[in-house]
């Protein structure tokens, strides 16, 4: 009986609160989400004195939210797991009930396509960047299959604060002011190279960390790494730089030196993609340099047959340099490691007559690494935004930043030092029981702040080591040279002829690098590409870029 009365009271409260919330606008409370951790009935009655808004927060039945995430494979809601704990915190704070819908990661893209066919979709779907120009997705947006969140996001201070402006511009997919998703932000930056410290010593180089090189000095190091037997095993089995095939072209990071990667504003004010430019011969210089490297043998002859995974396996033993973000560098010697391997960071190489004027690069300039779209079938888009907003709040950033959950995986003292012994214990337990309690993949993959490099630095390093890495990360930020295309893809890129020529030109490029064809061949290829539609592509792109000025 008593229970019934409470229930009735509750529902009355609920109704008034709902009405109130309609008038006051919902979801403003993200930052000061009630501090009471659980929403038991007694507490609800106690809190009647607080504002109507707050009551909605604590007294409503939890809203069910289904999420199709990307790259999360341990949606283990088990209490004992770090992920489970984190999910529980989110659920309680935002008064939601999260259900993870997890397709096989190998078939993730297929799963997205098929999800579009379903009438019942998960409320929140994570799409990879490619979908920003995918016809199916654009059609779906046009047809109203997803929420346009442009009118809502302003109510969420954390989302606004921790998302780059360029991301919102990029997510205005139909260029009409509507926004189709919340980005999972990443850091926009200019990567350099991780260099094997012991090998540098062996070849007698005095390269200091953070120092810039000229192209000749750079080549000199690559050459010595290859022929001066830096690993001292007496066999000629080393190469200057790690290389592999990525999307049909050879990737070494060297193209960054020549600013190949997107549409930049050059020092003379022109806007160009230097790869396919007819006015600047920078790409030919790049090809020439690559050809020189290839013929000198400083690149692994297997490079074209390796993918990033295969090349990475060889890197520590066979390559002197590896193009990558510095935060994950090996800067400490692991116990029993043989041979000893540590790295220093080479931020960039400067070329004469640089059209930008210095080393600068920036491929990930819309700051998006996958984005979340909210299905139109979802009844509470505001709840979802609230959830994301809360996950990005300062309160949760402690957890996201440590990539574990405070009190479960780590503790922190007043000075902000992390102690991960709890995670270590969980790991040991995992090893003994075959569980996955210590896996923290959900925290690292759900959302993150843009421009927050500390997220990528292991908190297990000493303060000094963390400082060293964050300084290096800062360099990659300083070198960041924004590309203007925001990963926009003009419509002509879907044209059959265009696509074919694009794939053809990549395939022919390999011949120039391996020396089968002269560098002049590039001009011929470029002429063909302009005829095959690049002329129009360029015009459309410039128009798009101009629309932001």
């Amino acid at each position: 009986m008593k229970k019934n009365i409470v229930k009735k009271m509750l529902s009355c409260l609920l109704a008034t609160a709902l009405v109130a919330s309609v008038f006051t606008g919902c979801g403003k409370q993200a930052d000061d989400v009630s501090k009471d951790s659980s929403a038991t009935n007694s507490e609800v009655v106690d809190s009647t004195t607080s504002t109507a808004e707050k009551e909605t927060e604590v007294s409503t039945e939890p809203v069910k939210i289904s999420i199709l995430p990307d790259g999360i494979y341990d949606a283990d809601t088990d209490e004992k797991s770090i992920s489970g704990h984190w999910q529980k915190i989110l659920e309680e704070k935002c008064n939601v009930e999260i259900e993870w819908v997890i397709p096989a990661s190998g078939g993730y893209e297929d799963a997205l396509q098929l999800t579009l066919l379903d009438k019942e979709k998960p409320d929140l779907i994570c799409f990879s960047n490619g979908w920003m120009s995918n016809t199916s997705f654009l059609d779906a947006c046009e047809a109203g299959m997803f929420w346009d969140i442009s009118g809502m996001i302003e109510n969420y201070p954390n989302i606004m604060k921790w998302t780059s402006e360029a991301s919102w511009e990029a997510l205005d997919l139909l260029q009409d002011g509507r926004i189709w998703g919340v980005p999972r932000s990443t850091v926009a930056r200019a990567d350099g190279w991780r260099v094997n410290e012991q090998w540098l010593e062996a070849i007698g180089s005095d390269l200091k960390e953070g120092e810039y090189l000229t192209l000749d000095e750079f080549y000199d190091i690559l050459y010595k790494f290859t022929y001066n037997d830096p690993d001292g095993n007496g066999v000629n089995d080393t190469y200057g730089i790690g290389a592999y095939e990525k999307n049909g072209i050879l990737f070494t990071g060297i193209e960054r030196i020549f600013h190949i990667g997107g549409w930049y504003e050059l020092s003379d004010g022109n806007i160009e993609d230097l790869r396919y430019s007819k006015d600047y011969d920078y790409y030919k210089q790049y090809l020439e340099f690559m050809n020189k490297c290839w013929e000198a043998g400083v690149i692994d002859p297997d490079a074209y047959a390796l993918d990033s995974k295969g090349a990475k396996e060889r890197w520590t033993g066979s390559y002197g340099m590896w193009a990558e973000y510095p935060a994950g560098m090996d800067i400490t010697v692991a116990e029993g490691e043989n041979p000893v391997h540590t790295e220093i960071f080479l931020p960039g190489v400067v070329v004469e007559d640089d059209p930008i004027g210095e080393y600068g690069y920036g491929e990930y300039s819309n700051g998006i690494w996958n984005f979340y779209a909210i299905s139109a079938t979802c009844e509470h888009p505001e709840k979802i935004l609230e959830l994301i907003d809360y996950a990005l709040s300062d309160e949760q950033w402690v957890n996201l930043n440590a990539q574990s959950v405070e009190g479960v995986g780590f503790t922190m003292d007043a000075a902000g030092n992390y102690d991960f012994s709890l995670t270590d214990k969980l790991k040991e337990a995992d090893k003994a029981n075959g569980t996955e309690y210590a896996v923290t993949n959900m925290l690292t993959r759900f959302v993150r702040r843009s421009g927050a490099p500390e997220f990528f630095i292991k908190k297990t390093y000493t303060a000094e080591e963390q400082k060293r890495l964050s300084d290096l990360v800062q360099i990659t930020f300083d070198n960041y040279w924004p590309t203007l295309d925001r990963a926009y893809v003009p419509a002509i890129a879907k044209d059959q002829t265009f696509m074919e020529y694009e794939s053809y030109i990549k395939q022919e490029e390999a011949k120039i690098i391996t020396g089968e064809k002269p560098v002049e061949y590039w001009d011929e290829l470029l002429d063909g590409f302009y005829k095959a539609g690049y002329e129009q592509y360029r015009a459309e792109m410039l128009e798009y870029i101009a629309s932001f000025e």
Partner: protein
């Protein structure tokens, strides 16, 4: 008398004949060595320390022997659950598949059946044309089979290849036996079960092997039609373990954290290979059991045309 005579003929075998026998043994032994190499390599890597693998990926013997990879797998209950799913799917799929294919192949092998050309054209059409992922998905959705194990069992039951293999075998059966049974007044089901079935052991064994192995190794349907990871078959779990590192590192350029995670997973190449071993070992063992049916000459005593 006969025996002596065969012996005599053997004695008469030419020098070429002897050389052939020797060369044949040598050749097949070499072939066997080449073909077992990848299997040995996978097993060796799975029992080795990862650092040793990086130094000599082509190893044929474990280096710094360790079973830690296996310990990890065996303790994982996800793995065991998928094992049970797979065993269920494989057994049911094999039995149903044998039945449907055999029942279809037998009339197709009979002279009396009318419209064989039409049915054959149907089968070939089905083999050659494929509706595509999206229509197939919509169809499975309409049939209400999404997220059930039946979606792994039913669609592949009848396949052109298995049916044709059976048919071509059944066509070679001595027709006199069937005629004799018909004259004796045996009904068709009787002929099929009592006369044909016992004679068909070799082909049943090989088709059973195709069905079982195909079912055990298939991951594609599960990847498309099954979201609930509790229902995943072992092949998909294996695929996930093999693929995760690759897909992650491709994305890795976009996001440094993904790259670091991927790196941790790559460290576990030995685990990948150990998973391969644990997940394929049971189905590998099916073969020797079925093998004896291939080796027997079943049609001894019958007259062949």
């Amino acid at each position: 008398m006969v025996k002596e005579k065969t012996k005599n003929t053997r004695y008469k075998t030419s020098i070429w004949d002897k050389m052939f026998v020797v060369l044949n043994y040598v050749f097949l032994t070499i072939v066997a060595f080449i073909m077992i190499y990848p299997v040995i390599n996978v097993i060796a890597v799975s029992l080795s320390n990862y650092q040793e693998y990086l130094k000599s990926p082509a190893m044929m013997w474990p280096k710094k022997f360790t079973v830690s990879a296996y310990e990890l797998i065996i303790k994982n209950d996800k793995f065991w659950r998928s094992y049970i799913n797979t065993i269920f799917v494989t057994v049911v799929h094999t039995l149903l598949g044998l039945a449907t294919n055999f029942l279809f192949a037998w009339p197709m092998a009979r002279k009396e059946t009318k419209g064989k050309g039409f049915f054959m054209a149907l089968i070939i059409f089905n083999m050659v044309f494929n509706a595509g992922m999206i229509p197939n998905y919509l169809n499975i959705q309409m049939l209400g089979l999404l997220d059930t194990l039946w979606v792994l069992i039913l669609p592949g039951c009848f396949t052109a290849f298995n049916c044709v293999v059976m048919m071509s075998f059944l066509r070679e059966l001595p027709y006199e036996l069937i005629e004799a049974a018909m004259v004796d007044g045996g009904s068709e089901p009787y002929i099929l079960s009592k006369v044909v079935l016992p004679l068909s052991k070799p082909v049943l064994a090989s088709v059973a092997l195709f069905l079982a192995v195909g079912s055990w190794n298939s991951y594609f349907s599960a990847q498309i039609y099954i979201r609930d990871s509790d229902l995943w078959p072992i092949a998909l779990v294996l695929k996930e373990i093999l693929a995760s590192a690759t897909t992650d590192i491709l994305e890795g350029g976009m996001d440094p954290m993904a790259l670091m995670e991927a790196e941790q997973q790559i460290q576990e190449k030995t685990i990948q290979y150990a998973t391969v071993v644990v997940s394929t070992l049971p189905i590998m063992c099916v073969y020797p059991f079925l093998q004896k049916h291939f080796a027997k000459g079943v049609m001894v005593g019958s007259v062949k045309g």
